[in-house]
């Protein structure tokens, strides 16, 4: 795209996302880390908007920043005696070098490959995604809904209090 404003917006969002992701690793308080994670989610949603994916951007804000972040905050709340200082394990320095190596390899592969480039224009992405979900990709769509039900039931069973589980088993026995 040859629109300078979109390019500027892309780089602003990219820098915001990467800096917040780095701060997730650096801050010394777990709640601050979760808040920087939420900021990086919103930054990624901004990246999607600059790449003409408006539906996916709104879904990202709705699900990641709206629901998954709430899940993480609640699970921090429900584990009060765990350390909240966002500490790194003792072998963090080798992990950092590993991560930097992985980043270098990925960037090198990205820059050196001869991609088949084309700038695609979309109509209403919501409509096109909807058509795609019901025509070619209807089987993954149904499997994803089953996956969500299984995950919901699994999560509920995992956190049931022990006496309620015993009572339920007693009812069945």
């Amino acid at each position: 795209m040859d629109d300078t404003a979109v390019v500027i917006a892309f780089w602003v969002m990219a820098v915001l996302t990467l800096v917040s992701a780095l701060m997730v690793a650096m801050v010394h308080d777990l709640i601050h880390a979760v808040l920087f994670l939420i900021l990086s989610f919103v930054g990624v949603a901004g990246l999607y908007v600059t790449l003409s994916a408006d539906f996916v951007a709104v879904v990202q804000v709705l699900i990641y920043a709206g629901a998954i972040s709430v899940l993480m905050l609640f699970s921090i709340l429900l584990t009060p005696r765990s350390a909240r200082d966002n500490a790194a394990v003792s072998y963090a320095a080798p992990i950092a070098s590993l991560a930097i190596l992985v980043g270098i390899v990925l960037s090198y592969a990205a820059v050196e490959t001869n991609w088949a480039k084309n700038t695609n224009e979309f109509g209403s992405t919501a409509r096109e995604i909807g058509n795609a979900l019901l025509d070619p990709y209807v089987l993954p769509f149904e499997v994803a809904s089953i996956l969500l039900v299984v995950a919901m039931v699994g999560a509920i069973i995992l956190v049931r209090p022990a006496e309620e589980a015993a009572r339920a088993d007693g009812d069945q026995a």
């Binding site: 709705l62 920043a65 905050l73 209403s124 919501a126």
Partner: protein
Amino acid sequence: MTALLLPFLNWYDFDPFRDLYNWLDKQVDPWLVYLISGIIGCTGILTFVGLGALINVWLERRIIGRMQVRRGPNRVGPWGLVQPVADAIKLIQKEVLQPDLADSRLFNLPPILVFIPAMLSFAVFAWAPDMVLANLDVGVLYLLALSSITALAIFIAGWSSNNKYALLGAMRVIAMMISYEVPMVMALLAPVLLVGTMNVSGLVAWQADNGPLAIFVPLSLIVYILSATAELNRTPADIAEAESEIVAGYHTEYSGMKFGLFYAVELVNSLAVSAIMASLFFGGWALFGIDDFIPAWLIFILKIYVFYFGLIWLRGTLPRFRIDQLMGLAWKMLLPLSLINVAVIAVEVLIWEEGDFGSWILAPFALINIALALGLLMLFFRLITAKLYRLPRRVILVRDIQVPNLPAPQAAVALQPPAATP
């Protein structure tokens, strides 16, 4: 390039602005035109939001006072009209306290963070046929995503106060808000299914041709009103910030203008919810073609304030629900209702598309939907208030109990002193 930008710039409905736009378009680069028209549009919306926050304070207190058979504020100006200014000055001059152990950076963030989604939600409304600030193709979903961010800001407010009651209030608010998001999303899914677009001005244009969506999806409207009242934390669903319940909940530790921001956000959010109801269910700027004579944005603003009056009416009349009653309402009544609603509307859209009918089929659909809405609501109200134990159908009086026939009592034997023992 201007053709690409035009969909985002169609907020102008006034001839002077249109002339200004055309003149600017010839003079400067397109991106500068875009920026200037964006700034003008944002200024207009912020003016409305600011004035709305001020007027709503007065409206709420005055109308609730009248509903409670008292006068409401009437000292500070004619009919108490300067009361919001007096409130603002009082809040500004208060000492801003911060608990010693509260997380300083996190403590100052929520009053700002909770205002951002409230203001952003005004960007997608269609004030007139050509007047939209951001003509998003996913407008309805955008409005729903903003309410999730509000829940996060409230949680941060409760957490950073270092106060047990604030945290408890924040957890209640989050539990309620995420519970009510699900029926709200599904309730707004039904009109989107019927119309075929998530674009808010597209929905309003459809309603200008075919009539208000409230008669086609009445169950959606009712579910949306109930969910939105709970999302706004207004009475009857304000368990999280009620003073007699939990010492003002998540905004206990906030004083001065920070509390003023929370209060203002509740009013601005109510205005946004009224605007959503007016746009999506009652036609937005369209009112039987009156918008040839009266400016369309004036009709829209009047509709917003009619529904805002409805919200104030709910607040002034109903008592407060308990938190378990509220969660039960969300999961046991509103979610099944909205699911059934989506299923019925989907079947109707299928019949409409496959059968190649014209628009006349919307009328029987509307009648079916209204009848279904009334029937389902009555059924669910019966179910949700059903007693879990049996009471006798009629009070049993003591004298109705049949006494079994006992033999007549014997003649009383006179008491005699015990025989003297030898």
